[in-house]
Subunit: 242 residues, 2 copies
């Protein structure tokens, strides 16, 4: 009689602890979701319909959730266009092309006022409801150095707030952790990590200003994505207008 | 020739600094708005349509904004019912009657997960857009001691986050202040302060579970309100079912 030894990875050993993962449908958040899965979390993905002009990213998010075998995927509507102030939600402001602003010290007009704070807050509410203490998001201090809410000190301040704000933490059932596993990675490193974990980047959408389901190729998000695939030495599966 | 000396109060000396005031339509937030006006702020009021079952409070908020002569009033839709978890947004959970939970150390099921964090985050985004650095809200550590996000340490943590999260603060144009002027007041003191400032409480709505435009009289919000008017020795203008 043969003795069969089966090695079970954390991801396969039944339901692990729960995590809420903010899933935009872009390259970064798809990689974050794959990382959370690989770490053995039961993933509850959260997307936002916030009046963004690039709403097709929500379809991309749904495809990513399906392909990664994510346990639950919810989309919350929050009408950020009602407060205005960003090229991403205002039809009156054009998305700038190839400004190089992302990566510089200037904050580009595609910055949405308080967006990460709003999204993390809603993710925190969802975490309380589903019983998760880990919140994952794709903040990156390198490519988005111009966004104040993508820096490590911001993430730490939110974690501190989360542990004061919520019934779960105050009643001692656990401590919230805000996880930003891409924080210090170059775009090319993110891509290589994702490919290692089986992410299919052809279904992700990064473009701020897509035209007929094709990426514009010129906005900051497209420029960063293209450079990332170049630097990683991997063929970019994105369909670009130009 | 007579020399006429005109003393101008801050509130009358033309547009003062701007403030964003979270206005629910209840007794507390109406008082907060009146306080911000009296302190000379140009008030930008913000209400939330968040799937609450007591949606008629939004009509109350509009009336309060009009009566106080508030400069701008916006309502942002955010679909908190999509994450569930509270009697205030779930039709499957009944609003408890006269539990006495508010004011005790227990957190009642009318607690909405991360609600103040979500609302303050959106208020922060609006503040960035309109150019305000003061955010007012009606947190109260006495009546709502069971709500973790109504405590002074929570408010301080949010203020710290706000000053790390936003373009306005990071680029040095100002420092955000989270103002909770009711924090240490009894309900009766809030009512007396509001009456002093001319607040008409008959148009405010506190009830979590109104029936045909009448307050139920039995939920925690109604109980606190009734006790407050009693303790203040002021006739309660509210129409109650019982």
């Amino acid at each position: 009689m043969a003795i069969v030894l089966v090695l079970v990875s954390p991801a396969m050993s039944g339901p692990g602890p729960k995590a809420v993962v903010m899933l935009s449908g872009g390259l970064d958040s798809a990689t974050v979701a794959a990382i959370a899965k690989a770490e053995g979390f039961e993933v509850h993905a959260l997307s936002f319909d916030y009046g963004q002009r690039h709403k097709s990213e929500l379809e991309a998010a749904a495809k990513v959730a399906k392909l990664l075998g994510i346990e639950q995927h919810r989309t919350v509507r929050v009408d950020l266009a009602a407060i205005g102030g960003s090229a991403l939600t205002s039809t009156g402001l054009a998305v700038p092309k190839a400004t190089g602003a992302a990566g510089s010290s200037d904050i580009p007009i595609t910055y949405v006022p308080a967006r990460n704070t709003i999204f993390l807050s809603i993710a925190l509410g969802m975490a309380e409801v589903v019983g998760a203490f880990d919140l994952f998001f794709g903040a990156n201090a390198i490519d988005y150095s111009g966004y104040p809410d993508c820096r490590p000190e911001y993430v730490e301040a939110f974690e501190r707030l989360a542990n004061l704000a919520t019934r779960e933490a105050v009643e001692g059932r656990g401590r919230f952790r805000i996880q930003a596993p891409l924080m210090h990675l170059e775009k090319s490193e993110i891509i290589l990590r994702g490919i290692e974990l089986g992410v299919d980047y052809s279904i992700t959408q990064s473009c701020y200003d897509p035209v007929n389901e094709r990426a514009c190729g010129l906005c900051d998000a497209c420029v960063l994505r293209r450079r990332g695939f170049d630097a990683a030495g991997v063929a970019d599966p994105t369909l670009y207008v130009e």
